[in-house]
Structure formats: C-alpha cells, structure tokens
Amino acid sequence: MDILIQNLLNALQWGSFYALIALGYTLVYGVLLLINFAHGDVFMVGAYIAFFVATFFLGFVDLSPWLTLALTVPLTMLLTAGVGVTLERVAYRPLRRKGAHRLYVVITALMCGLMLENSNLALLGASRKKFPELLDKVIYTWGNVSVTNLKLIVIFTAIAVFILLEFIVTRTKIGMAMRGISYDKFAIPLMGIPIDNVIVFTFVLGSGMAGLAGLLFAMSYPILEPYMGALIGWKAFIAAVVGGIGDIRGAFLGGFLLGFIEVGVVALFPSTYRDLFAFSILLMILWIKPTGIFGVAKTTKI
C-alpha cells in the first residue's frame, strides 16, 4: 500500500511537468494548427531564465530565498513569454504572412528549437549550472511514504494552471476568439477580431507556462544543461497527442497519463523496459482512438 501511494505521488509530480509542457503545445496547435516543436527548448530557456533571475536576486541584490522565489515566478514567466512571442514574431509570422504551408512552419519550429539549444551552448558553454535552493526543503513522512513540500507545490501548480487555462479558453472573450481562429481563421478577421493579437496572447500563455514549468523543474531537478528540454519536450508532445492535441483537458490528462505509465512500468517491471513499455501503451491508445483521448476528428479544437 505504502509503495503504491509513494509511486502515485512520484507519478503526479513527474506527470505535472509533462502536463505543463503539453499545455503549451496544445494551445498553439489549437489556435494555429501548428506543432511548435521549439516548445521543449522554450521550457529549457525558461529554466535558464529562472536560474539567472534567482542568482541575480540572491547574489547581487541579496534578497531572502522566499522573496527571491516570489519575484522569480512572475519574472521568469514574463521573460519566457517574451521568448515565445519573439519566436512567433521572427519565425512563424513572416511565414504565415506569405501563406506558407504548415509543414514549413513546423520545420521552422524545429530549427528554432535547435537554434535555442545551440545558442545556449555557445553563450554559456557546456558545463552544467546548479540551480540555487529557493525553498527550505521539508520532507513529510507517513510510514514509508515521503513527500517534499516542493513536490506538493509542483502538483498543485499543475492543477491550478489547468483550471486557469480552461477558464480562459472557455469562459472569456479572448478565449472565444482563440476558439474562433481555430474554427475559421479567414472569417475571424472579418468579424473585427485582431487575429495577430490573439495569436500573440496564445504564445504568451503557452510560453509563460513553459517558463513556470522550467522554474519548477529547475527547483526539483537542480541541474541545468542546454539539452534538458529536448527529450522531455518530445515526450510532452506525445502526451499532448495521446490526450488529443488541441484540447486543454487532453494535454493535462495525457501528461499525467504518461507520468503514471512511466512510473508504473518501473514499479512493476525491470526499469530497463520503461520507455519501451510506456510508448507501446501509448501506441495502443492511438490504435483505438487515433485522434487522442479527447480529440475529435476535424472539428473545432481547443
């Protein structure tokens, strides 16, 4: 029983990161039908931004860790959102203006991701960065179950972000505009909706969440390297597809599902088989439902 609860908590934490990143993929796809493959690397940049903001406040301004954390959260989200918007501005928008096929935009996204990785490598070098401790670690133990305060924060943040995004997309005017663009991006400007502003807002939301995920990730796994976003980004993308890309509930569910499957496979089988089994299970889900769990074929998404 203990081991079950412990693994449940492990899976919730690990799934939270997948879910937070998958949300970014799904938002952009929902609006633009664009798979933003640079998103994993935006997450990596978010972690580095968090590192620089945190070390700046801790080292140069000499604030207390708590105050630093309180400042790092909004600043990281803001700056990472800036990175996402810049990508949209310099890479995706010019192609969209020229009416390029979506395939070319996807390739551009892949290239942007590689550029982010390699510019990081060129600027900061290959050596790893150690993320400073911003939170006094508290370990709560019941029997054989141990959980840190950070783990709980990660899980609750993921849930809060999900509720917030779901609210924005389904209950607000701008959310309605986002859904509208996904439905028909040629008719929407005729209604007087500033399509570019809505797209920028989408990137702000998605990248801001990636920044938040980057910060929480850096706090949980405090070693940063330029390629840290690649693998987790791909896996989160798969999670988003399995959940039904374009649907916020799908990204959230897909992220946690992948977390649960990965942890579950390790708990029951030799850990060597983790990725093999995990992705076989996801493949089977796609066999049964090729559009993903919440996906609906060829209708409005998001």
Partner: protein, 393 residues
Amino acid sequence: MSKVILRTIMMVMVMSLAFVMLTGCSKEEEKIKIGFNIPLTGDIPKVGEASRNAAEMLKEEINSQGGLEVGGKKIPLEFYYEDNESKAESAVNVALKLIEQDGVVAIVGPNSSKQAVPAGGTCNDNRTPMVSPWSTNPDTTKDRPWVFRAAFLDPFQGPVATNFAAKQFNAKTSAVLFDVSNDYSKGLAEIFKSEWESKHGADSVVAFESHGTKDQDFSAQLTKIINSKPDFIFVPDNYNQVALIIKQAHDLGWTGPFMGSDAWGSSELMTLCGKDCIGQFFSTHYAAAGAKGATKEFIDRYTAKFNETPDDVAALTWDATRLLLQAIQDAGSYNSDVKAERKAIRDALSTIKEFAGITGSMAFDSQGDPIKCAVVVRIDENGQFVFAESVCP
C-alpha cells in the same frame, strides 16, 4: 552555357588553391602531433575540460624546453583537441578525423568507456596507437594490440567497492542503480552484482535498477530500491546523474549510505551535488587531499594554473600522455613517415613494463592494461575527497 563554364573554372580555381594550401602546410617544421578525443560538450563537459587542462600544462612544460627529446633531437609537440560530444558515434568520427585528416601519430582518449570501446576499435583497425586515460571497461583494450589505457579495470574496481562497502557499512544486502545505455555503468553494475552475490549469497542484491542517460527523474526506481531495504545503494554513474540520484533518494526518505565508483570523481561533483553528497564513499584512481611527491607537485601546479583541484581525469590524462611521450622517446629516432612512427610507438608502448605515474605506479599486462592500486575516498564536510583506503591487486 557560359555560366556553366564560368562555374567550372571557378571550381577548378578553388580546388587548386586548396591543394596549394594543403601541400604548403607540410613544409613547416616537424612536430609531434598527438590527438585528443575528449568530451568538451555533451553530458560530461567537465571531463573534457580537465583532460585538456592537463594536456595543455604538459605541452607547455615540454615545449618551453624546446620540445620532446627524441633520439638526441628536440621536437615540439602539437596537440589536437577534438570534441566527441560524449557520444559513441562522434568518438568514432573524431578518431577518424584525427587519424586521416590531422595525421596524428597517436590518440589520447576517449575518457568514458561508452566512447572508448567503439573508438578503440577504430584506432585498432586504422593501426594508430590509442591510450585511454579513464576508461575502465575491459572491452576497450581487449584483443586490440593498438589500444592501451592508464586506468585500472572494472573487474578490479568491482571487488574493491564490494569489499569496502561490506566492511564499512557492515552490509549484507545491497541495491544498484545504473545507466543502462552507458557501457561503463552497465558493465560495472553487472560485475558488482555477481561479486556481491558470490560473497553474500543469491538474492543479496535486493534491487538492480537502471535508467537512461538523459533521464532526470529517478523517483520510481528509487522507490523500488528503498522499499526493498538494502544496507546501501551502489551507484556506478556519472557525476552529473549522481547529484540528482542522491538528492532524490534523500527526498524519498532514504538515510542510508551510498557507494560510488570512479565516475563520481569530477571536480564538478560537489558544485552540483552540494551537501547531499557529504559523507559518501567512492572508489577512484587517486586522492588529491594528502598526496605526496610528484603527485603533490602536479596538484599544486595544476591548482595554481586553473584554480581548482585536479580530478581523476586530469591526473590520468597527465599519466596517459606522459606514457605516450615515454614510448615516443623509447622508440629511438622520430620517423617522419606517420605510419611507420605509429608502428614504432605501438611497439614501444607494448614493451613498457613499469611506469611511475602520478596516479600510482603501473605495470602492464599482455592486453595493454595497467596493474595498479585503487583508492577509496570519503567526501568530507568541506567537499574534499579524502583518502579512506587503498587496495592493491
């Protein structure tokens, strides 16, 4: 049509220019070219940096005296540092580039067995001597007459860790967490398992779990390990993963000891791991704290130059490169024909029977592997690696 002709003329001009430049190069003064196949980026960039630092220090020392004295003539050294990105396939490409393009007489590195095993095959096939400073997997040199190394082997290191842990922790059971995609980690984990089980009975390794090189979350594996209640956890992993593993194990409520292997011994371990690593033990090649003689002299010079204590890789690269230079001197006169010189160096390397390195004196067996002592160090409160025990074969 004229465009095609113009383009052809341009191509011919560019190619002839390149040819002139290439042939022009060979006219400069004679130098001993040695290649370094090291990870300057990728998973373990600190390892590559330490190797390059040690090599640069050695090169400066020798070149400041006019070069290496071979057969009564001083020839300056030229080192080529190439990045293998800590990837097996890149290590092979780097080896080929050094051999074919740069025309080096010998190669130092790669450091990790993950790269050294495939690159060793390449060097052996291309008849170029290679000395790996840090690789401990037996396959690196096995049945490869052109490949040598400066480190001890895992079949020796495994029992060292086993015996030390059994005594130090008074342990009957153990658990292992290793990197399944790393030849070094996997090989050592398997040696440890069979060694431990032969001493303490079947099933005394209560958990034998693996992870991938790019993994960052080990909570599922660690939950399984902690739940099987071992007396200690053996982690034959690279220092960057060690930092994450130990932290996460502590988060999951593990308070018992860890035992590590020589891949822990990077000067970056403590920057990444911090207080979680204090008090842990690992087996390694030398202990910097409390060294004497030539070893101390090396440590002092390195520390003054690069502002950090040299780690295992730095010391082993120093030894590996000196071993190679020794062989070049032993070969007598320096042959300007690269292929003949490579052969001469190999023959000289294979006849070195005893070599006094700063990581201990080594004798070489028929496979080109050194027979040397291992040490076990403890990480003290200041993050220093302090000598705990020395084990000799």
